[in-house]
């Protein structure tokens, strides 16, 4: 289980702790090389002002070792593709500065996300992760016939607010990597898929509420959550999947008492 701590969020660039970088100093970066079996390889990388973990990995790949594999796209915290385990914590590397993740003596250890199969080095296979979104009915179901008019969803309604709180997920997989239940039970749908299901359960336009609640009510569904809150602790977007799952537990139970999946 990862230790609890604040999620990796971008610090203010004017923060003196961020600015005070000795231009002569270097980082000692251990990087996982291989797949399920492999070893850590150590690289020395110059320390730079406002340097992110993704900057470090990119510098290694472009200047020192072009065989290093990793994944990124947007570099601005939108695409969710650059997540890795940095010094034992799952983080989005494009918006994690070295100054907040490295040890005092400038050491970094970079590993692929836990609970995912490793493709190579820092790149993980995310198929199982997104298959669980599908299994949790994580896509909007508009119904067979289009509605006669636009749905009016007042922002102040409880359902809309519940959906709003959970909607900003970027699918980075950090919560899935942080979840101990996923580590124990590979069939468990996981916090991201269940969080997505919760947003749709609260979408008044959606027509598949019962099927979705049945999908998340199984033996590997929402009731498996132990409420460790690792997902909530590490989510870089500040989402609380634990509370989404708690909402699903209540909704599923109400559905079961009404004669739904038991």
């Amino acid at each position: 289980m990862y230790g609890f701590g604040s999620a990796a969020r971008c610090r203010n660039p004017t923060d003196p702790a961020v600015q005070s970088v000795n231009p002569e100093s270097t980082l000692s970066v251990e990087v996982w090389r291989g797949a399920e079996t492999g070893t850590f390889q150590t690289y020395s990388v110059p320390r730079r002002l406002n340097q992110t973990i993704l900057d470090v990995v990119t510098e290694i790949q472009r200047e020192q070792d072009p065989t290093l594999s990793y994944r990124f796209a947007c570099r601005v915290g939108m695409c969710g593709s650059c997540a890795m385990v940095v010094n034992g914590r799952p983080r989005w590397t494009c918006r994690t500065r070295v100054s907040e993740a490295a040890t005092a003596d400038g050491a970094l250890r970079l590993e692929p996300l836990r609970n995912f199969a490793i493709v190579k080095d820092l790149a993980v296979e995310m198929t199982a992760f997104f298959d669980k979104w599908r299994d949790a009915h994580g896509s909007f179901e508009p119904g067979r016939t289009p509605p006669a008019d636009f749905a009016v969803v007042p922002p102040a309604t409880p359902a809309r607010q519940a959906a709003d709180e959970a909607i900003e997920c970027i699918g980075c997989g950090i919560c899935y990597a942080a979840c101990d239940v996923v580590a124990w039970d590979r069939d468990y749908l996981g916090p991201a898929a269940l969080n997505r299901a919760w947003t749709l359960v609260n979408d008044v336009r959606d027509t598949a509420r019962e099927a979705r609640l049945a999908a998340v009510a199984g033996d590997s569904g929402c009731q498996c959550c132990h409420t460790h809150m690792s997902c909530t602790s590490f989510c870089p977007k500040g989402i609380a999947p634990t509370y989404s799952i708690a909402g699903l537990k209540r909704a599923v139970l109400r559905q079961a008492l009404k004669g739904g999946r038991r």
Binding site: W184, D185, D219, Q223, C224, L253, Q255, A256, R261, R262
Partner: protein, 109 residues
């Protein structure tokens, strides 16, 4: 865990939280004055309140323990499916039988 198992486990946990506390408090109170087992049994024999309390206690245990054990087995081993459920149903029956045997011993033996 299915919704009904989840509900039964939470309800039985709520019963057990009270029942265990009452059970421990009663033990501490009963032996405070140095009562023997025979003297305690003499007080519980024929007492319907004791019978009802321990019948509820044993029933809650018989539901709660197998469901919890099922979760642990599913998380820590690859054992799944009907054989697991059958084994834990048998475990529940065993707890009920042994438990009610003790309840009758307290009430009527």
């Amino acid at each position: 865990m299915t919704p009904m198992l989840f509900l039964v486990q939470r309800l039985s946990a709520a019963v057990l939280a009270i029942a265990v506390a009452v059970h421990l408090a009663t033990i501490l109170y009963a032996i405070r004055g140095g009562l023997t087992a025979g003297e305690i049994l003499a007080r519980t024999h024929g007492n319907l309140a004791f019978f009802a309390f321990y019948a509820l206690f044993v029933t809650a245990v018989a539901f709660h323990a197998p469901i919890g054990l099922r979760n642990i087995i599913r998380e820590w081993t690859p054992w799944r499916g009907g054989s697991l459920d059958a084994a834990l149903a048998a475990f529940a029956v065993m707890l009920l039988v042994l438990g009610f045997r003790a309840v009758f011993a307290v009430y009527a033996a």
